[in-house]
Amino acid sequence: MAQIELENITKRYGEKTALDHISLCVRDNEFFVLFGPAGAGKTTLLKTIAGIEFPQEGLVKINGKTVNQVEPMNRNVSMVFENYALYPQLSVYDNIAFPMRSRLYKKDEAYIKSAVDRVTKMLNISNLLDRRPVQLSNGQRQRVAIGRCLVREPNVFLMDEPLAHLDAKLRHFMREELKEMQSSFNTTTIYVTHDYMEAMSLADRIAVLNNGKFEQTGTAHEMYYEPANEFVAKLFGEPEINLFPAEPYEEDGVLKLRAFSKDTSLIPRGDVSAALRENGGKTVDVGIRGADIDFSFENRGDGWVRGSVYACEPIGNKVIVTVTVAETQVRVVAPNSTKAELDSDIYLRFHTEDLLYFDEMTKESIGRSGGKRPAEKTKQAEGVVETWHS
């Protein structure tokens, strides 16, 4: 159990800057998720905390103590690697027992046996103890790797995309298993993923990393409903959020938005008018989720925008219809019995109570309409949450 802090960490590989003046504070016992696209620097960040990589600048602190000069083995951290890194010549039992047989973390064999039994039972791999990694399936190997990480009692668990190489079904299953096990961890955990569902499901807090910098840090709820910029907004949600430019103008004292073409306009809710006016009345980017758009194959009149069906994809419990409106593609979520002929006419109505607004130039968030949204669950916070933004 420990608090992990990073102060102004910069890590370069030759010409490339992997981490750019990153600062972060992970609270004791928190399940903290590092989320971002491939190459963002997530693995580098994890390895810097572990001590396997050395930053050019900045401090790594565990429980307030600077550990830059401390060897990885003395930092008492436990890690799951993306490619599992199991010892091929050892059995599953010996793989999981390995950390407890080193001189530093030595335990007697009786303790080792009980610890291995506890962990393998939790992960459902008790029947595989004699096998070698090469005889296991991908999912089984991944559980052994997690078992080897969990069997110690370190300051922090570091997990690098542990579910990345599993097929979709197994990934769902393991994500749920992890969620169930979470409450019994009792250890600070830093978890890396590029799958937004994993991030939202497991995290107490999420930090979105892009090109070595943090885009936003906060709860899953904040990421989805209050993204700080367009990059974050596009990362969360399936199908991807729709973004299109709109020009605010005044008509009869009401602020309206001109979008798609000269004759279509949306009426935003009153509470964002102030923010839009403050922005100088410039064109903004409007964000709306596919589920907040109604559609119809007949023109229903005012408020309905005409478009043409570009693609219609049934994916099981819903159908994603991609519609071309003016020059933009809009993704709409439809019931799974929907059939739409390609290039046929379709009419869309946007729920303006659930719009997000972004500055067209900076892509930063300007505001969001108040509108129906689930109340955020509050977790009992121990102490103050502090995050520094670079």
Binding site: F98, S102, Y105
Partner: protein, 278 residues
Amino acid sequence: MNQNKRTAGSLLGALGRNVVLIVYALFALFPLIWMVLCSFKSDVQMYNTVFRFTPTLENYRNVLFGTDYFRAFFQNLLVSGVAVVITIVAGVPIAYALARYDFRKKEDVAFTILSFKFAPEILVCLPVFLIFQKIGLYDTYFGLIWVYQLVTMPLVIWVVRGYFEDISVEIEQAAELDGYRWYEIFLKTLVPLIKPGLVAAGLLAFIFAWNDFTFPLILSGFNVQTITITSMRYIASDTVHYGQVAVAATIAVLPEVIVCLFIQKHLVRGLSFGAVKG
């Protein structure tokens, strides 16, 4: 349908292939078969027809008990064995460095080491002879073992480097986090994984050292006598005792044949596993 035609055709093809292979095998093995036969022939019958002769053990008696053949045999064993041991002890860390670390001109260094194997021994042995004479290493065990590194090291380094490259660095990092020191990581995790390649390359290097002719010829005199040189002694001033030469050769070949027979399977696997690189 056309299935029956195919099986008949493929049977004929298989037969043809096997015949060609047997013929070639006989062709390739003939010198060895001849050598073994000669070792049982008396000098008188040496020039007779190949297969009809009365076998005799006289040559064996002469060579094994009449000369100091065994001394040469054990000297060869000593020199080759120690050379390989030194190669392994020095070569494995070199292979590790080449696999894991990045430094300027790394590939040039690697290629230079490999190129030692390409160099014809006869090209270098004269300069080496002159140098050895000057520093007093002529006709010593140490000198020969040292020179043998040119023969044994390149192969071991090349194969073991391939093995190290195949082991993901995360395994070492995981062991580091688990609390192990670098030498424990090396012995407990890395060595078991490179063992197949190391054994295969090491045994092959032993065979190269065992067979070496040029270096012992030039660089050793009376103290150190390897088997390869010893066999020449049976070329006397008056006549060539082919039978005795054959005995010397046959016995010299025995260790390598036995080694190869045992590790055949592992040889191919061990050598190719790490070496196939994109």
